[in-house]
């Protein structure tokens, strides 16, 4: 913790020196308008903050590299820093020193309202035209009609079950109900955002609660979700946040059902089919990630070139395939190494995504538009989750 602090002070120091050095160019961005363009060929350096696997420069695997070609083509230098959770990303962006970030929906709004990001002029990003329509102008990347970035990819938090141990489930009830055939061997995601998974299940099992959006919960709805989580706790073997640990637990048989990512199921099915992954009838939570630009960037031209580069069909295909998610660019599907990739991840099926509730940051003003009640903001979710996990 101390280390982190020292580092963030160093970053703040570096960032403020940079700001002082180039105050004139950044003042118009800080005013809140998007960059007018045109994108110039100014060389520069951009510091990229990304989920692991989103900005590969060949250091993880020499064959996986879409950063070096970008550097050669544009003359921009790229430094990549990866992070493990949305909360960590928010903390690092707030400390400053990063020019672009790949943010999930539960991080993006916090950063936008915190003044850490700038609106993006999409006319300057030619590849944006090919992005799937159902990813454009969504609440986690667009605020007050202003776009804040370009979509990278998306995925659903699927229900994974071990073949031969558990019959293919059609409902999330297998992880929530006390009479579950997998009880004692269930896993759940170890983050406050998992409360939304409980809300998704309540949407169909308790319609009288009137939940429209699992991220917009008033006190009654929230209490119902927490009660469901408490009912689930005795059934849980472990909560997971580290996916390699998850893989080991499934292989050893100590976990047979629970929420998961498609990429985890793929790893488990690498040598022989071990698990199935399905999106149950209630729908599921999911993520949709967006590349965004810091409000304090000094290298605006390189930042725009990066946003355009990262959603180029070929790059988007590589990145989505490497990470294991659905690409955002509709033309990427033709360019994946595995021709079934888009089918496997349902990239082109609009119906598949209609009941996927992408991660968003809950706010006091209800995200579903209700004005007669107050919803619980994310800070309250975190507080409740921490208390729940330790009770």
């Amino acid at each position: 913790m101390r280390n982190n602090k020292v580092r963030s002070y160093a970053v703040i120091l570096a960032a403020s020196t940079l700001l002082l050095a180039g105050c004139s160019s950044s003042s118009d961005d800080a005013a809140g308008g998007a960059y007018a363009g045109p994108v110039q060929d100014t060389p520069g350096t951009i510091n990229v903050l990304a989920w692991p696997g989103y900005a590969e420069d060949g250091t993880t695997d020499p064959n996986v590299d879409w950063v070096t070609p970008f550097e050669k083509e544009t003359g921009c230098t790229v430094n990549v820093k990866t992070y493990g959770t949305s909360d960590e990303a928010v903390q690092l962006m707030q400390a400053g020193g990063y020019d672009v970030v790949s943010a999930s929906g539960d991080a993006s709004l916090r950063l936008i309202y915190g003044g850490d990001l700038q609106p993006v002029n999409l006319d300057l990003i030619p590849n944006y035209a090919d992005v799937f329509d159902n990813l454009k102008d969504r609440p986690w990347n667009t605020v007050d009609g202003k776009n804040y970035g370009v979509p990278h990819g998306r995925g659903a938090n699927v229900l994974q079950y071990t073949l031969g141990k558990v019959k293919e489930p059609s409902s999330w009830s297998i992880v929530w109900e006390p009479n579950s055939p997998a009880k004692g061997k269930i896993t759940a995601y170890d983050s406050a955002i998992y409360i939304a998974d409980a809300a998704v299940y309540l949407m169909s099992t308790k319609p009288e609660l009137g939940i429209k959006d699992p991220y917009a919960l008033d006190q009654t709805q929230f209490d119902a979700a927490m009660a469901l989580l408490k009912q689930q706790k005795p059934l849980i073997a472990e909560y997971w946040s580290d996916y390699t640990k998850y893989v080991g637990a499934v292989q050893s048989g100590s976990i047979t059902a629970g929420t998961s990512w498609q990429v985890i199921a793929n790893v488990l099915n690498g040598t022989k089919a071990t698990v199935g992954a399905t999106k149950p009838k209630e729908g599921a939570t999911g993520w949709s990630d967006t590349w965004m630009i810091s409000s304090k960037t000094e290298a605006i031209d390189c930042a725009y070139k990066w946003l355009n580069h990262i959603i180029t069909p070929s790059v988007n295909a590589q990145a989505a395939e490497y990470f294991g998610e659905a690409p955002s660019n509709s033309k990427a599907c033709a360019l994946t190494a595995n021709k079934d990739h888009c089918k496997l991840y349902h990239a082109e099926e609009t119906d598949y995504w209609s009941d996927v509730y992408y991660w968003k940051t809950p706010t006091e003003a209800c995200l579903d538009g209700r004005t007669d009640v107050k919803c619980l903001p994310y800070a309250e979710w975190v507080k409740a989750w921490s208390s729940f996990r330790n009770s």
Binding site: M1, R2, K5, T85, D87, E88, V90, Q91, Q94, R110, L111, Y113, G114, K233, I236, A237, E238, Y239, D242, K245, G248, A249, S252, G253, S254, T361, T363, E364, P377, Y378, A379, E380, V382, K383, W385, S386, S387, F388, R389, N390, S391
Partner: protein, 285 residues
């Protein structure tokens, strides 16, 4: 050069200051300073939406910690684990240290000490993941070991955490006790048996009182290391959590609250150390 030497010779205060400045800097600035920073952070607020720290005074973090029953329970659980680990370590370490210090031959003593220290050469994570594979409920080594006699592995949870931590911190208990037992004069043991005491009596009336400060020294290590651990708990604990996990879960989103929670083990350690100091056990270290 000689002038510096002369000045230092003439002025003893300067000599002492130059000698002590570095350790004092370490203790004062880096150690006490960070504890103070922790305390200051715990009385600040955050913006509930963006998680940014607002430097305004509030006691809300402490109220949250002390009014929520969950954090009282987790404190009790953490104390319980730390006490169990310390007691188990002591029970294993005392006979082992006695054997190495008093019974083993001179030549094998060095080998035994080396064997004791070897686990410290391996990475903490490797050791804990090894225990994880052993504790797997169905396919683990422990289950294989006890299933023939009708038992089954306890799986992940508080029991696995206590075993894992005991394994990790055992050398820190054995080494001080070994050092204490080595200093024990043989004449006392001889006198005890000459006066007719059986070995049990000798142990409780002679050996234990003399090595008590060494046991206390070892317990400070095992107790404080267990109080603060969170990684072993994550890997072996299943759904079980300790104070360190509360800090870990909250620090990125609510640093002031995490700081308030982090002060609990600090306070417990202070109480522990001051009660030990009163008992006089630290005088002989």
């Amino acid at each position: 050069m000689s002038s510096v030497k002369e000045i230092l010779n003439r002025k003893p205060t300067l000599r002492a200051a130059s000698l002590l400045s570095l350790p004092l800097l370490w203790l004062g600035v880096i150690y006490i300073g960070s504890l103070f920073a922790l305390f200051i952070t715990s009385i600040w607020k955050i913006d509930t939406f963006t998680s940014k720290i607002i430097r305004e005074f509030t006691l809300e973090n402490f109220i949250d910690v002390f009014t929520d029953r969950a954090y009282f329970n987790v404190t009790i659980r953490t104390l319980f684990v730390a006490i169990c680990v310390t007691i188990i370590c002591a029970v294993i370490a005392i006979p082992m240290a006695f054997f190495i210090a008093r019974i083993a031959r001179e030549k094998s003593r060095a080998v035994l000490i080396a064997l004791l220290i070897t686990p410290l050469w391996a990475s903490y994570l490797v050791k804990i993941y090894a225990w994880r594979t052993m504790f797997y409920p169905e396919s683990g080594f422990i289950n294989w070991l006890i299933s023939p006699i009708g038992g089954s592995s306890p799986g992940f949870g508080i029991f696995a955490v206590i075993i894992g931590l005991t394994y990790l911190w055992l050398p820190y208990m054995i080494l001080p006790i070994y050092a204490g037992m080595e200093k024990l004069p043989s004449s006392l043991l001889d006198a005890s048996s000459d006066l007719g005491a059986k070995s049990g009596r000798t142990f409780f009336s002679v050996i234990l009182p003399i090595t008590w400060p060494a046991i206390i020294a070892g317990s400070i290590f095992t107790f404080s290391l267990s109080m603060g651990d969170y990684i072993t708990v994550q890997i072996l604990g299943g759904t079980f959590q300790m104070l360190g996990n509360v800090v870990y879960q909250n620090f990125s989103l609510n640093l002031p609250f995490a700081a308030a929670v982090a002060l609990i083990p600090v306070i417990i350690m202070m109480i522990y150390l001051s009660s030990i100091r009163k008992s006089g056990a630290l005088d002989n270290l």
